[in-house]
């Protein structure tokens, strides 16, 4: 910590106590319980339990379905991240360019930020309704029989579409203010060097946006991994069936729906490790970036 600080000993501790106690009671205590129960198979009501060592983990890693879900999670995360970032960037670049109605566009493009994931999923259910959903009808007119809940990849597409729809506003806001903070002098210099708009964008603007882009990358990955839970749950109507699902949804399905405490705890621990790695990675990158800016 490079801030020249105060030296009182008791005050910082007092300031940290609320945060630390809440985290210890409501984060580390449950997390420790999850780690512990991942080594047991226990009756959900708490009557019987058997210590099974690492069986819960080996069962998972040997399960073909779990691997398939892990794969889908990767595909889903990459698609949601890529699509929501690139579409938001496109809209931000355009919104930055136009003069007329800039504020109106900005407002109308960002309000979806406030929509709750289950509500977004509910809207998706209506749009993709098998009998009269507007999107289903559009696809039918184009010659594709869209079948949400039947066809694996159709359902995956709907999940991705709704998740992207919900995420575009955040990315849009970040990109737009990233663009607007590029100094006028840089833009003018670029204008003299490069005649073509696209080479100006890729040669000058895009690299300048890279830090924002990196920060957003992490935000979007965590969003796709965790916050899409409500979207997925609503879209599959609580029935996993042969629908695609993500790792977090699988934790919910086995633990919350199926009461397999040991198995779902092991899945939670795997996710915790994954997220921990992501956090460390993010910190190292963010810290480094702060040195540069």
């Amino acid at each position: 910590m490079k801030k020249a600080g105060f030296t009182q000993a008791w005050l910082p501790i007092l300031l940290l106590v609320p945060q630390l106690s809440i985290i210890l009671i409501f984060f580390y205590w449950p997390a420790a319980q999850a780690v512990q129960s991942s080594f047991y198979l226990q009756d959900p009501f708490g009557f019987g339990s058997t210590f099974v060592g690492a069986d819960n983990y080996t069962d998972l890693l040997g399960n073909a379905e779990y691997k398939r879900i892990a794969w889908f999670t990767v595909i889903f995360t990459v698609s949601v991240t890529f699509l929501s970032l690139s579409l938001a960037l496109l809209l931000a670049v355009k919104a930055d360019k136009v003069i007329r109605g800039a504020k109106g566009y900005r407002t109308l493009l960002m309000w979806v930020y406030a929509v709750a994931p289950p509500v977004a999923g509910f809207i998706g259910l209506i749009m993709f309704n098998q009998s009269w959903g507007p999107i289903t009808r559009t696809f039918a007119a184009l010659g594709h029989d869209l079948k949400i809940g039947v066809n694996y990849w159709d359902t995956a597409g709907a999940m991705i579409a709704v998740s992207v729809w919900k995420q575009i506003p955040v990315n849009f806001i970040f990109f737009l203010s990233g663009l607007q903070s590029i100094p006028r002098s840089v833009r003018e210099a670029a204008l003299i060097d490069n005649r073509s708009a696209s080479s100006r964008f890729w040669g000058v603007t895009f690299p300048l946006l890279a830090p924002t882009g990196f920060f957003l990358l992490i935000i979007n990955i965590t969003y796709a991994l965790f916050d899409t839970f409500g979207v997925i749950d609503t879209l599959v109507k609580g029935e996993p069936g042969n629908n695609p699902m993500t790792l977090v949804y699988k934790v919910y399905v086995d633990g919350f729906r199926g009461n397999d405490l040991g198995g779902s705890s092991a899945q939670s621990v795997i996710l915790m490790v994954l997220v921990l790695a992501l956090t460390v990675f993010q910190f190292r990158m963010v810290e480094r970036r702060i040195h540069y800016t």
Binding site: Q19, P118, I126, T212
Partner: protein, 291 residues
């Protein structure tokens, strides 16, 4: 901005039209679903299940609003829309305020004090940053039960606060505050408490406002946790209430699409209004926090 004047006029026209076209498509994609929700809550349920959304607006809007807002579905009659609206507000505001107060205090301690266990405290706090409640929900529920906090507002709010997002943002912000300020304050003889209250808090106003909006929306939109933790109908939140009605869409009677849609609209409107009205703070806070 500046490149609007230089290129030849004809190309500029075409380009501008394209820009607007793309933006308009974007806006339509974002806005039309809500218009559709409004349309669907204006026609009778029996019509919706047959035809779905259309361009025709009916006259059921008042009726559905009345049902969604004041009609209670539960046994106690305590989960009318108004009550759920209040609970959602309490959750959103309580969560936002709690998180900001606790986060600012912790961030202040971490940035401005020489702490013996600073690195340890830092990691203890920031490990919680990305791991959502969903993956540890069952043990969390048990903890809350053990503390007798089920069906209380603090049981609803405090466990959600147990992650360090706000702390992280305030830490980033405090680190960008010029160091000269602390030195000046020290020369003036101001102690850490006065420095915090008189200088740092006013300096953070925009940041606080932005955090408030972000956290309010986050708290308002919670679903799984309120479902677990509230068993009394008087404690239901709007997002949880929607699920209750959506579930009926799969049930065996005429699904109450109108009511569900309208409840969805009610659930969406307050956070949207906050985001739209305070967008300049919100945008500024969001984007400054990552510096």
């Amino acid at each position: 901005m500046s490149d609007m004047t230089n290129p030849p006029r004809r190309r500029l026209r075409l380009g501008t039209i394209m820009d607007h076209a793309i933006l308009i498509i974007g806006v339509l994609v974002m806005v039309l679903p809500l218009v559709m929700l409004v349309q669907m809550s204006s026609i009778p349920d029996t019509e919706i299940i047959k035809t779905g959304p259309s361009l025709h607006f009916g006259d059921q809007l008042d009726d559905n609003f009345e049902k969604a807002m004041f009609g209670a579905t539960g046994f106690s009659g305590e989960n009318a829309g108004t009550r759920m609206l209040m609970n959602s507000l309490i959750l959103g505001i309580g969560f936002a305020v709690g998180k900001i107060v606790i986060g600012m205090m912790a961030a202040y301690a971490i940035v401005y004090f020489r702490l013996r266990f600073a690195t340890l405290a830092f990691w203890v706090i920031f490990t919680t940053l990305l791991l959502p409640l969903e993956v540890r929900i069952l043990p969390s529920y048990e903890v809350v039960q053990n503390l007798g906090m089920v069906n209380t507002y603090h049981g609803l709010i405090i466990p959600l606060i147990a992650s360090a997002t706000a702390t992280f943002f305030f830490r980033q912000f405090f680190r960008s505050v010029p160091e000269e300020l602390v030195e000046a304050a020290r020369i003036d003889g101001a102690g850490p408490v006065r420095f915090f209250i008189d200088i740092l808090v006013p300096l953070s106003q925009t940041m606080i406002a932005a955090m408030f909006i972000i956290m309010f929306v986050f708290g308002w939109n919670q679903y799984l946790w309120p479902t677990m933790i509230t068993t009394e109908e008087g404690m239901f939140t709007l997002v949880r209430g929607i699920k209750q009605i959506v579930q009926v869409l799969e049930g065996n009677r005429v699904p109450e699409f109108g009511r569900a849609n309208l409840l969805a609209i009610i659930a969406v409107v307050p956070p949207v209004l906050i985001v739209v009205f305070f967008q300049s703070w919100f945008v500024k806070g969001l984007t400054e926090s990552d510096k």
